[in-house]
């Protein structure tokens, strides 16, 4: 959906047009679900997080000033809901994503060399992400996949910006170690 249409729908939804909000939900729910699933690692839990996200978005829509994109605003709410959810659940699950999980949509990278390497790397990466402790996974997903700022991540997770950065660096390090284990031979080979 183009940004003009999104802005029109947001404006209408703010005025109480339920149809407009419904259309926004239909346009964005798959993206919101994908993020929620990456954060909580479970299908049912992700559905609950998505529902809560739209409840909060509906309640807070009047506060949305349009400084950021609607998608970024929704990502922040999703992150906050997922964080609350993981806290309430009281324990963290480390469910593996199935190697053959279904993808509905995928925009290919234009660099053919990178694209050739990407297939295997991406499925290994998804598995490695799910093995991270949720606190580390949340930060790396929000920063490196969804491009949220350190400040936004810190706010939504209720942690300091420096704590968010430390978690990010630890998460990246673990992912790098998992995907590119550096043996002595490799180190000497470079």
């Amino acid at each position: 959906m183009d940004s003009n249409r999104t802005n029109e729908l947001v404006a209408a939804a703010k005025e109480g047009d339920h149809r407009a909000f419904e259309e926004l939900v239909r346009e964005t729910y798959a993206d919101t679900y994908t993020l929620a699933y990456r954060l909580v690692g479970d299908e049912e839990d992700a559905r609950d997080v998505v529902q809560e996200t739209y409840l909060r978005a509906h309640k807070g829509l009047k506060k949305f000033r349009g400084d950021a994109q609607l998608s970024t605003w929704l990502h922040r709410i999703t992150a906050n809901c997922a964080s609350t959810f993981l806290g309430r659940r009281g324990r963290h699950r480390y469910d593996q994503l199935s190697e053959d999980f279904e993808l509905a949509d995928d925009v290919p990278d234009r660099d053919p060399v990178f694209q050739a390497d990407l297939g295997d790397l991406r499925s290994n990466l998804v598995a490695a992400l799910m093995e991270l402790p949720p606190k580390l996974r949340t930060v790396v997903v929000l920063r490196d996949i969804y491009d949220l700022s350190h400040d936004a991540i810190a706010t939504e997770l209720d942690i300091s910006e420096s704590a968010a950065k430390v978690r990010l660096h630890r998460a990246r390090k673990r992912l790098r170690e998992s995907l590119y284990p550096m043996g002595e031979e490799q180190a000497h080979a470079v």
């Binding site: 909000f21 419904e22 939900v25 239909r26 729910y29 798959a30 993206d31 679900y33 994908t34 699933y37 559905r47 609950d48 997080v49 998505v50 529902q51 809560e52 739209y54 409840l55 509906h58 809901c81 609350t84 959810f85 309430r88 659940r89 999980f101 279904e102 993808l103 509905a104 949509d105 995928d106 990278d109 990178f114 390497d117 990407l118 790397l121 991406r122 990466l125 998804v126 790396v140 490196d144 996949i145 969804y146 491009d147 950065k165 430390v166 990010l168 660096h169 630890r170 990246r172 390090k173 992912l175 790098r176 995907l179 590119y180 550096m182 002595e184 490799q186 180190a187 000497h188 470079v190």
Partner: protein
């Protein structure tokens, strides 16, 4: 893990202090990949350490792969839309996230209730014992 330093004399294997450096700067490397400021010591180490440069190249690939996940949408059935829209209606479905909060509150209430019941039982027991002791003392005198 030994590492190699391109600036070292004769490009020999590094000694223990340099291994320590690689580990010391390891987390900074994870931040350097997207342009975070480095302290001068770490910067000069990265410029001369081939092992760290190889790691940095891996971090760059990792970040590109992570960014490529942004365009993926996981398949989800459209019943989710109906669930969301139902939840938005007045008196809509209460989902598990809210139920988890409610369950936590009721567990807390049950816990406090349990403590109160135990305290009442304890107090009653103490009264019975005290009255029996008093009765024995009266009988003895």
């Amino acid at each position: 893990m030994p590492s190699e330093n391109s600036s070292g004399k004769g490009r020999g294997l590094t000694t223990a202090p340099l291994q320590t450096n690689c580990e010391t700067f390891s987390l900074q490397l994870a931040g350097a990949v997207d342009g975070e400021e480095l302290d001068p010591t770490a910067k000069s180490h990265f410029e001369t350490c081939l092992r760290c440069q190889a790691e940095l190249a891996h971090y760059k690939k990792l970040l590109r792969a992570l960014a490529s996940l942004r365009d993926q949408r996981l398949a989800v059935d459209d019943t989710l839309v109906n669930e969301i829209l139902l939840a938005l209606q007045p008196g809509g479905t209460v989902h598990r996230l809210q139920r988890l909060g409610a369950a936590s509150r009721s567990r807390k209430a049950a816990y406090i209730g349990g403590i109160a019941a135990a305290a009442t039982a304890g107090a009653a027991g103490a009264l019975v014992i005290a009255s029996r002791l008093a009765a024995r003392q009266r009988l003895a005198s």
